[in-house]
Symmetry: C2
Subunit: 233 residues, 2 copies
């Protein structure tokens, strides 16, 4: 059934893939999106969604394509994480993987399993199954990066809806940093950065004082980073 192989080179080449570490947030805890593999190797095991880089796409484009193809997620925060190149990281042959990490508002997307994928499911970060390939290492690297990054770049928003309350945002920071944060100090600090805009809207149908909605002011943030200003939480 297989056709003759067709692409030949003077030197042997590793195969090149990308894998995506996708974080979501569920009000209380951080979640990770995994897919169940349809084929060998690691058939029926959980893995990060990944795939091979095409000749006409950058690795960034590849990561975004895979995100969409294998999980249905698109237009989210994606950033290059690390390139993993251990010689035996794939049992089939030499595959080098450029990993990416994504931050997703998990309620925005209906998960849809795609090509080579049986299903896509959210898992608790604290309770992950054993993963295929070296994907556990990738996840560990991604969590470290996320922790480091969240403290000096306002990316917490990316895990929430367009509009959110400060308490929700604080929850994101607490989940990522794995520590309690003082409410008053958090609000003082996050508002002082100047990238949050209070909306003319409050929560509805809650059996308590309704919280104010905020949104992320991308323009203000761009101006800040261009001036080279950092903040710290």
């Amino acid at each position: 059934m297989k056709e003759k192989k067709r692409y030949s080179y003077e030197h042997p080449r590793p195969s090149l893939a990308t894998d995506c570490v996708i974080f979501g947030f569920d009000g209380g805890t951080l979640k990770l999106l995994l897919t169940e593999r349809e084929k060998e190797p690691f058939k029926n095991k959980w893995a990060l969604p990944g795939g091979f880089v095409q000749m006409d796409e950058t690795t960034e484009a590849c990561a975004e394509r895979i995100l969409k193809e294998k999980t249905g997620i698109k237009n989210v925060f994606v950033e290059q994480l690390f390139t993993f190149s251990d010689i035996d990281r794939d049992p089939r042959e030499r595959v080098i993987s450029v990993s990416y990490f994504a931050l997703v508002n998990k309620h925005q997307f209906e998960l849809s399993a795609g090509r080579d994928t049986l299903k896509a499911e959210w898992f608790e970060i604290a309770d992950l199954p054993k993963l295929a390939f070296d994907h556990s290492k990738m996840v560990k690297t991604a969590i470290e990066r996320l922790k480091g990054k969240v403290s000096y770049q306002p990316i917490g928003f990316e895990l929430l809806a367009e509009k959110f309350t400060l308490t929700q945002l604080q929850g994101v920071y607490e989940a990522i940093l794995e520590k309690q944060i003082d409410k008053r100090n958090f609000r003082k600090k996050i508002l002082s950065i100047g990238v949050l805009r209070a909306l003319d809207e409050k929560e509805k149908n809650v059996a308590r004082k309704a919280a104010q909605y905020f949104s992320f002011d991308k323009k203000a943030y761009k101006e800040l980073t261009q001036k080279g200003i950092y903040f710290e939480i």
Copy 2:
């Protein structure tokens, strides 16, 4: 003269390379190590030392091999920087490059040009020639990373000899961060981290008060990072 191509695959594959951004320090300013290319493309142009990843080496190992082969440098601080995958970044064919950055005590090594390389030379960061491929982009990325990193990880040492004075170390920080630092505040801070060990040795033959030598205490640093402690300059 060329033999028949020998390695064939079912799907086309990009070629995979690494390139090294190598920083040195010369008492006053940051330097970058460039090599002059012996062959096309970009023959006789300055470029970062780079080369193709072999099937039996990780990209880290590849970067270290290239460093040694093309410049004579070995056993230095090397860290993965970023993977560049623009489709036309190499005029010959699709090549994806995993870049690394290295910090070197430039006086420790006799530069030696190697394979495919006419010469290796240190350049002022502020006065670089036009570089081959997308190497200017790599350098820009590396400088940003270095600036960010130096403030929360003690890597300034890597640009100096085994033993160094606090004034030399301050010079490294000033060169990287491109700003003047107050001498007393710098000393207070850098010593408070607890990774510098005062040696029983001073400068000799200087027409002024001789400065105390210090060395970097790797053991103390390891303990600190394991406890997850960061510092900031």
